[in-house]
């Protein structure tokens, strides 16, 4: 009886030591999956006003303002986005809707209010610029973790935050503009703090840095980030009035609400 107790005790102690050890030794894929959930799937839904300030190579500034609504059909899986443009004035009222499908092509719609037109949009190139900015569509709505091979290449400290440094190599090189990219992921909250994109020749081409993180409803949230093209031009993106778990209905993400924007969320 005693012996058995000792055995149990030993097992417990071993487990107690091993479990945290395992947590420390996260694989690259686990880190990326956690980062994906932390950054793109926070809460079960979300609403935010987004402001992008685009500065071109000649220093001219352009402003984009939009409201983004997000609904997670499943955590880490299917998602729906509703993007309502406020500025510039000539596209005010335009709505861009995406149903993100990890297992097949995304479904995309564009509503042009001036002619009451709903267009289906094909988008093969998810790496193209989002609304003329230095962010790509994938930067905004997420890149599938399975699209890259991830490698943990080290650890680093950024502004006092401990981070994992990962190298991500695309599985299909023809679909992307980069040969690989590096990401710095916060060890504590798993938010990506920095990204470096290297072009096909292996030269650094674009740097994304997170400049401000706030706790929104106890969820660490990126509220300001900057994408800078090495050859010139940058975009600052700010997320204002961020709200999670607001009770968005899935039906808002449909043709009906392209024509009838849900004003409760869009101001």
């Amino acid at each position: 009886m005693k012996k058995r107790s000792v055995l149990y005790g030993l097992v417990l102690i071993v487990c107690g030591v091993l479990v945290p050890l395992q947590a420390l030794a996260l694989s690259a894929d686990e880190i990326v999956n956690k980062a994906n959930l932390a950054y793109y799937y926070a809460g079960s839904d979300g609403a935010a006003k987004v402001r992008m300030t685009i500065t071109d190579t000649r220093g001219r500034k352009r402003l984009r303002e939009l409201t983004m609504l997000r609904y997670d059909v499943e955590d880490g899986g299917r998602q729906k986005f509703y993007v309502y443009f406020h500025r510039p004035a000539d596209v005010e009222g335009m709505v861009y809707m995406v149903w993100k499908n990890p297992e097949r092509d995304d479904d995309r719609w564009l509503y042009i209010p001036a002619i009451d037109l709903i267009k289906r949009v094909s988008q093969r190139d998810k790496r193209s610029s989002f609304a003329g900015s230095n962010f790509t569509y994938e930067d905004v709505s997420g890149r599938l973790p399975g699209d890259d091979v991830h490698e943990l290449i080290g650890e680093d400290t950024l502004d006092g935050r401990e981070t994992y440094v990962l190298k991500n190599i695309p599985r299909d090189k023809d679909l992307v503009e980069f040969s690989f990219y590096k990401t710095w992921i916060d060890k504590e909250n798993f938010l990506p703090l920095k990204g470096e994109y290297y072009d096909k020749a292996g030269r650094l081409a674009r740097i994304i840095t997170v400049e401000k993180i706030e706790n929104v409803q106890d969820i660490p949230t990126v509220v300001k980030a900057r994408a800078k093209a090495v050859e010139g031009g940058e975009t600052v993106i700010e997320f204002m009035d961020v709200r999670y778990n607001v009770g968005l209905k899935e039906r808002i993400f449909s043709e009906r609400y392209l024509r009838r924007p849900p004003r409760r969320w869009i101001r």
Partner: protein, 426 residues
């Protein structure tokens, strides 16, 4: 228009604009916006239309607003309007009108309603229309106004019903609005009765259906989503939007014959792009047997389209349309001697190429209509640039060419024009 009146109107516009600018985005719960646009179109040589040097020269002010009355909060009520002032240097007059003025609300969870003046669009075509029988302005389209002016507003009641299985979309249009068709003023055209190209001497009159309960137009659409694709069925009961009937050939009187259209479409992802097919049976109600040479025969329109993004900044769209005239033998028999016969099948191909440059601030586009059966072509090249977020400029051309005078685009040969537009949005 006398000069004093013109100046007053101009002053009023400027004041309104200044007011809108000062008021910023929102005042008393009303969201305000709009634009001022100057447009000029040079004509590249036609002797027949009214003015030879140009067919577009205008200043347009648009003020739009959105008001959410508190009293209608419970039904998500909103009032939207788009008022325009157009100082038209070609016509030499100024007009004020509403392009939109409507009330939308949701009386029940499963139902939306929109009442008043509104722009209506449906169907899968890109600048081609099979089941969209809502009014259009081809004069604006051919002379270089913004694409949005191809659509004319309708005074209508629109009702949507959303169910688990399908969405229903019913439009009731109490008073008929025809297309704005080419009338020889800004553009010359082929006059079938005279058998030649006609310009300012156009003497035709178009008789519109009377505003009676019996003449109300109905358009119905039933829509169902199948996975990623959209299946739609359409029904329309009303009138041809072009005067496709001759009332009295001596007096050159035309009318808009009764028309029913039954159609369907399917649109969805295909080979990395978006594919669509649409069909519509045009039932010419006043000449179902095709024996009356003065009234358009029934027909069927088939349309297939495909758009695809080649790179992030370059996209291509192609469409193929076939218009089949039914009871063609009877049409041939009823044709008066000397009138050029239309083909039983009209084939039309379109190609849209769109390329973006300079962080999407510069857009180059070419839209081409080509009919191998009519042997005519219509090219719409354009280039637009956003100088700032507020100021955009567009230059473009409308170029027509054809082997025959009587075909859709062939008749417009000689109406080629170049245009330039500058728009300041706020």
């Amino acid at each position: 228009m006398d000069k004093v009146k013109g100046r007053r109107i101009l002053l009023a516009c400027v004041l309104l604009l200044a007011q809108a600018l000062c008021l910023s985005d929102r005042v008393l719960g009303v969201e305000i916006g709009g634009f001022v646009e100057a447009a000029h179109g040079l004509k590249l040589g036609d002797e027949r239309a009214e003015k030879n040097a140009y067919n577009l020269s205008e200043l347009r002010v648009q003020l739009k607003g959105l008001y959410l009355p508190e009293a209608l909060d419970a039904v998500s009520g909103e009032v939207a309007w788009k008022g325009e002032a157009l100082i038209d240097g070609y016509e030499g007059d100024t007009s004020f009108y509403f392009r939109e003025l409507n009330l939308s609300f949701t009386p029940f969870e499963f139902m939306d309603l929109k009442v008043g003046r509104q722009i209506l669009t449906w169907g899968t075509g890109d600048l081609l229309f099979v089941n969209d029988l809502f009014p259009k302005d081809y004069v604006s389209f051919f002379t270089g106004r913004d694409d949005e002016y191809l659509k004319l507003p309708s005074d209508a009641l629109r009702l949507w019903v959303f169910t688990e299985y399908a969405d229903l979309d019913l439009v009731i249009i109490p008073s008929f609005t025809p297309n704005e068709s080419v009338r020889g003023k800004r553009l010359s055209f082929y006059d079938g009765l005279k058998g030649r190209i006609i310009g300012r001497e156009d003497g035709r009159t178009f008789v519109e259906p009377k505003n009676t309960a019996e003449n109300m137009e109905f358009a119905l659409r039933v829509r169902r989503t199948l996975r990623s694709s959209e299946l739609e069925f359409y029904f329309f009961r009303g009138f041809y939007k072009e005067p496709r009937g001759i009332l009295d050939s001596d007096r050159e009187e035309y009318f808009y014959p009764r028309l029913n259209v039954y159609g369907a479409s399917l649109r969805g992802p295909l080979l990395g792009g978006i594919g669509s097919i649409e069909v519509g049976f045009y039932d010419s109600r006043e000449d179902t047997k095709g024996r009356n040479g003065n009234i358009e025969n029934s027909s069927v329109k088939y349309l297939a389209g495909y758009t695809r993004e080649l790179t992030g900044d370059f996209s291509v769209g192609v469409q193929y349309m076939v218009e089949e005239m039914l009871l063609y033998d009877r049409y041939r028999d009823s044709l008066s001697a000397g009138t050029p016969a239309r083909d039983e099948f009209r084939h039309l191909v379109t190609l849209r190429l769109t390329r973006l440059f300079l962080s999407q601030t510069l857009k180059m586009e070419l839209f081409t209509f080509y009919s191998p059966s009519d042997r005519d072509v219509y090219l719409r090249p354009s280039i637009s640039y956003d100088v700032t977020d507020a100021l955009g400029v567009t230059a473009g051309a409308n170029i027509f060419s054809g082997s025959f005078d009587h075909t859709e685009f062939g008749q417009l040969e000689g109406n080629d024009n170049l245009y330039l537009r500058a728009r300041y949005s706020f």
